[in-house]
Symmetry: C2
DNA sequence: CGACTTTTTGACCTAATTCAACTAATGTGG
DNA sequence: CCACATTAGTTGAATTAGGTCAAAAAGTCG
């Protein structure tokens, strides 16, 4: 099984075989979690750092008026909160969107890494910087773009990220999101998301069916979405490494 | 002159006199910068870490369609990008909103700190976590709240942050923002910002004039805004330390 | 005092929401 | 494997929040 986490870290900088082996060895204490489960809830003081090995998860927060805002999708290779150690409590929740395989990294493992594996530490540091940059881009997205552009921009981002961990098949990849989840991501109503998707579909830009997205022409979608991938800070922005290309 | 940076760091954890003295000593290489100047531009590879000693600045980004999204306000005591060292280039800009006094911290100073002053390092680490949490809260704001609530929520946040660095006078503080800047923050048109402000003013919740905001009843505004300050992770959420209270 | 920027207001338009109904999926227990 | 329940997706009609355009009033500043 190709390790998405390693692919992701190596999209920032190449790793030594030694570090790679260590990463594989620590990813063994894993758990299977069903869809729609909280991995960490707001207010928790989590002990472990979680690493998504398989499946989709999200960061989200509920407002006191009962609305939900999703502010990040976690895909295979993403991890939650190296830094959480410092904060007493989580100020948001992390929940699964699909069944996930999750690794639990103990504090001692994290400590061992930060003290003895500078390249890995740097790569993880990078990850959290990229998370921040992504959040800023989402803010631009919500603040400045219309519904269809907003949605298609998200699709471009997810395509890019899935490609970086080898989970795209050309312009197609798994996307287990309901329209309701999309609406909570985009600050739109479900109905309007539905209509916007229809518009994208009729323009031949994207089609979604049974938990999979198909982008017939990725470049065309990027142009449409005003998508500039530089905020993801991937080392190989253009060529990529597709499943199909292997 | 009370050092806002120290106030801010101490709102996370108390500092030793030694660390405090060191902070004062490093804040001496400063520069005065006029309003509406870029301190760092997108694409730069900045050498120094900047620290705002006085005045208002912002993080922002321009889209290819010429729109601007502001994603953070920097107030006295805030600093820009301890972490920027790792990223080759800035993916957004930082510009002044009012005349600012800015300290330039050289890489060697930062290095000295991270190696010899763990308490300070931890406090700065905290700052960047809080920046992240704030960004998430802004996303909730843009995604889930109507124009007037969105704006008033921002005012609550700024009040809380200004209070933490001793720059509020009861419910009033300096706020050198034009309505156009507010609109680029909130993802709204200037006209709509104007009308929303009128609504808030007529409800007796806030009034703005000559670069100052007055909140007659802070608690009432918080209730109106659904404002929960916990994301700012301040140690003293309630009492605060007002100019007027001293 | 002009030139310029910011704020305010009015009239009109459009994007997005709400409510409501209906259709397709998906799943569950018998 | 089917009947039923439940969730997800789709569509229409009416409404509203917010945008655009345009122009006037109020500040700011050399």
């Amino acid at each position: 099984m190709p390790n998405a986490f390693i692919s992701k870290l190596e999209s920032f900088e190449p790793l030594h075989a030694d570090d790679r082996a260590w990463l594989i060895s620590i990813s063994n204490r894993t758990r299977e979690v069903g869809a729609d489960q909280d991995l960490i809830s707001e207010g928790d003081n989590p002990e472990n750092v979680l690493l998504i090995l398989d499946g989709f998860a999200m960061r989200y927060k509920l407002t006191s008026t009962g609305r939900r805002q999703i502010f990040a999708y976690l895909i295979p290779g993403d991890f939650c909160d190296l830094h959480v150690a410092l904060l007493k409590t989580m100020d948001h929740s992390i929940g699964t969107l699909s069944p996930c395989r999750v690794a639990y990294l103990s504090p001692s493992i994290v400590l061992e890494m930060t003290e003895r594996r500078p390249a890995l530490t740097r790569a993880l540091w990078m990850c959290s910087l990229v998370d921040g940059a992504t959040l800023r881009e989402w803010l631009v997205n919500l603040g400045q773009r219309s519904a269809p552009h907003r949605i298609s921009h998200l699709f471009c981002e997810l395509h890019e990220r899935m490609k970086a961990v080898g989970l795209t098949d050309d312009g197609s990849f798994e996307l287990p999101l309901t329209q309701s989840e999309l609406s909570d991501t985009m600050g739109l109503s479900v109905v309007h998301v539905n209509r916007s998707l229809k518009e994208l579909r009729e323009a031949g830009l994207v089609s979604l069916r049974n938990e999979r997205i198909l982008i017939p022409n990725v470049q065309r979608l990027k142009d449409y979405s005003d998508f500039d991938p530089s905020y993801l800070h991937l080392r190989w922005p253009n060529p990529g490494r597709d499943v199909s290309a292997k």
